[in-house]
Symmetry: D3
Subunit: 157 residues, 6 copies
């Protein structure tokens, strides 16, 4: 169902005025595949001094709050919480980013969770690109969402 186009094909926001607010949650993940020199720098860095992960996590939280202004047909909403977490996965030579967003609204928070992951990943890219520009953002996707008329959805695995 093309919820974002009317019968004549014009873009539109979905009308949520008849829907009661309820608790909505969404979890998303993404990966930043790095080169070995960046991996080693990240391993050393988090132990010694300076740490790009809190910078990326904060940027992800702030990015989630801007979802409504960046995605044209998204609704403005009041987020109850956003969490973003970066973790190094050395055997995949990658950083894994996880996000969780919560709101009590008439519309879901999937886009907020995905935006949090994306902005955190881009922030990591920005901070590490002086070492090597060959990083790749991989597998940014929704893991799970709850609440709303359509209820719970989980990715396949």
């Amino acid at each position: 169902m093309w919820t974002h186009f009317d019968e004549e094909g014009r873009p539109q926001m979905v009308d949520v005025s008849g829907k009661a607010p309820n608790l909505r949650e969404a979890w998303a993940e993404g990966w930043v595949r790095v080169t070995v020199p960046i991996l080693e720098a990240l391993q050393g860095h988090t132990l010694k001094k300076g740490d790009p992960f809190p910078v990326a996590e904060l940027a992800g939280i702030q990015g989630a709050k801007q979802t409504w202004s960046l995605i044209p047909l998204c609704h403005p909403l009041r987020l109850d919480q956003v969490e973003v977490r970066c973790e190094l996965v050395p055997h995949r030579c990658s950083v894994r980013i996880l996000s969780h967003s919560v709101a009590t609204e008439a519309t879901g928070v999937e886009m907020e969770a995905l935006m949090a992951v994306s902005v955190a990943a881009l922030t990591l890219y920005d901070m590490c690109k002086g070492l090597d520009k060959g990083m790749v953002l991989e597998s940014i996707r929704l893991l799970r969402k709850t609440g709303g008329k359509s209820g719970t959805w989980s990715c396949d695995g």
Copy 2:
């Protein structure tokens, strides 16, 4: 080189005050892997009525202009041009997104190109998620950049 941390590990913007502006360009790409029903809907839709691609392309352009506010240590800059293009690649069951950003500045436009692709991809996700939430953003990466002291850089292939 950790350009975004000072000697004590504090996050910082790179000082570009001594650098002369010159022409900077960057190209980035990314993929949205969709399900077969979405692929078919996109194929039919672009021919008949309504088209999510221009919506995503516009959102990508506008997102690129917000890069400095979303990525904490990015510099504000004046973009000379941003282009975003979505194209259906049926045999990969995916949409490919390409971006190109240009500025005459003392700092590069790689992040702007990557932001354009990411916001366009998330906008596509938003518009198609009523059909299926199992889409995945894949391989968002820099293809090439020119200008600046470090000159031209291209991805491996």
Copy 3:
């Protein structure tokens, strides 16, 4: 009644803390009077390739979401829906723009509807100004609003 000034003449937001949220709707319209060459280009363009109308409609939707940040004494609110529609009215050599905004809030959405029309009109101007700068925005006004203590209001005709 000067709702936006206190007894000493200082600007203020209207206090809506005692008011219960209810369904608010507003409809607005405006016209962009174009020159004949632009009219002809728009007629040909919408049929052939490229179409400034969806760009303007999207910009109007996004502008409506920014009303609270642009109009100093407006309240931030959660829009349930915004629609914007451009249509060519050849015998008036004009584009007519209509908007509809909806929220379940303690404050009305008239300004959001008017902002949507204005930003859509300015976006059309921007896209057509390479052809001729002599376009004029005409008759931007509220058509109707419902909800709230003051109830329904309609323009004279």
Copy 4:
């Protein structure tokens, strides 16, 4: 010439990377036609206490600075100056709004001048709508622009 669409009809920003910055100026005007009670209130108000004109003028200045984020294909630029002026024109039962914008850039400031007038007009509407919602924004147009390859342009009269 459709400067904002490429050969395939996709929306695009105009590439200004080859253009040298030079002094650009633009002047715009618009009218807010008010009802007699609002006219009388504005006449009394500006003399006694509280004055909606500075509020609208400031909002217009701030709106001009947001033009690049509101109009999808506009370039970000550094405004050297923006002026907005509201004046009561009693025999037309209207407020006239004039703006002037200046930048030393590779792209013009027409949209900034028009945005300043539009946001100032909407702000006036917002502050007076408690008295009567039947106001109409009329004849928002460019008066004159100078600078750039196309040089000086003036409206007909």
Copy 5:
């Protein structure tokens, strides 16, 4: 209690999803200590022509509405009202700024009240800095807040 860090020390937004909205109010104050020439200019100015106080008050109101985007771990919320008031206190050679913010939300509005005072103070600084740059912002603090689980809080005096 470190409400803004999880057990591992990562920054986080406080989860307010289980909290019922109720009426929240906050009052804040701050001082801008000026030099004698600025004091005299302000005294003369407010009587004669032009007045920096409404400009600062408006900027404070608009700044309060941006609190959620400026303070990384603040929640977006719908403000019911914001008031800002500047007053000259000649015997302290200072401008006193008072703010009051109101919302019906699951989270408090202390930061909004403090942001309103801070942005108003900085705006005053900006407008008077042509006369003397030696102004100092002093004693920006919360005066009182009501509502929420923790109830009423008042500063010592």
Copy 6:
């Protein structure tokens, strides 16, 4: 000299179109006076786990980039660098915040330096307010600025 009002007392941006860009720098400082329990928590916290200082420093950098949108008559500009540093000063039971901003522009960066300090201070307040709301922002002021027609200025001490 009231640079922000014209002869009739209307607020205006200063016209910088005739001024050549040159290197501008500004340094500002401010203090957050905390209670003893917060001081002890900050001392323990920075050693063990979680640290509010990088969060505040990042928020200050991002706030500086928004100066033009928050201060009504400020010019948009391209910052070459912003640095913000928080340090605990136990014998004053305070956090000292220092900022440094740099741009190559026709207008100064004093407001950007002061905004960086203010937003960093408010962010600290936000993160510590769960422990005690009685913190006070003290002595936010410009330390020094260089560049521009008026040259170097330093505070008295």
